[in-house]
Symmetry: C2
Subunit: 199 residues, 2 copies
Amino acid sequence: MAYNIPSLENLIDKFASLPGIGRKTAARLAYWILALDKKDAEDFARAITDAHEKVHQCPVCHNLTDAGKCSICSDPGRDQSVICVVESPRDVNAIEKTREYKGLYHVIHGLISPMDGIGPEQLYIKDLVVRAANDQTKEIIMATNPTVEGESTAIYISRLIKPLGVKVTRLAYGMPVGGNLEYADEVTLYRALEGRSEL
Amino acid sequence: MAYNIPSLENLIDKFASLPGIGRKTAARLAYWILALDKKDAEDFARAITDAHEKVHQCPVCHNLTDAGKCSICSDPGRDQSVICVVESPRDVNAIEKTREYKGLYHVIHGLISPMDGIGPEQLYIKDLVVRAANDQTKEIIMATNPTVEGESTAIYISRLIKPLGVKVTRLAYGMPVGGNLEYADEVTLYRALEGRSEL
């Protein structure tokens, strides 16, 4: 490499290993780190080890937490009868931001994807079924992404849970708010038509 | 914040403080760190402190190095009579990649920019003049970026150095190789016409 400085090369390699960061951006970030005060650089490094040490999965819903149970599972004010199933903790955050949903979550940490060698047994589906079988549970909302993998995972899980007599629902498809008919793809537009409601 | 996990918030803040990284990307990177093995997360953190500790400026040219003098200044095979002046260590790397330049460098670490409160005294210009005054030095190549600040910094430095009887040159302006006349701005095209050479 042109830099000839192993510790700098190594830092660039680390940044370049992050998702969506190419080598040029990685170099820019590494130079930025070098220009920090000693204390700020150490704080940055400590933030990584700190978060990695403290944050773990909630034993109930597999959302991230630094406590025993996550803040949602341990909140008695949440509606215990509804469980929203999502792919990742970031999706929990996205739904929480709507401030509309008051139920619980279950994070399965991935989607079924035979192409990538990910089957149902690699995901947290088994203990979702156990939670669904609990008498409290009235509804499971499948909120996986509207992609092929998200769709087939939702269908797979609904087939496991429906026999337990629990209602299984799916997020609505349709036009994104603020979207433009002209730029919508046909499948979305078809789904928006199909799901039309009376005014 | 919606995450409710201070150590995770802190890590997201750190990533978001990097140049060009917004909060959504920062969150994605932080989750990626959490998903690493313990060893990989520690290696990442150590890469930051390590690079920050080991890498410093070359006392001669202010390029980055982990040794006493940088690898270019301490290479007797380089042409000691030419010094190429650049804004940042990344520019050294860009020019080295051409494999055409065999002289030395001088990194001034910034550009004169009164709008940002950066004057010549904040840049490594004084010791460039000292180097230029050395009998060995025959030519100074101004390779600052072709922007307003790059241009005015080049002119400022050339006015300091020319009286010493040293040749001061500037990178050529013109069409980028592989570029398209249609998309070139007028100033570039004008400069390309002005700098035309015989075939």
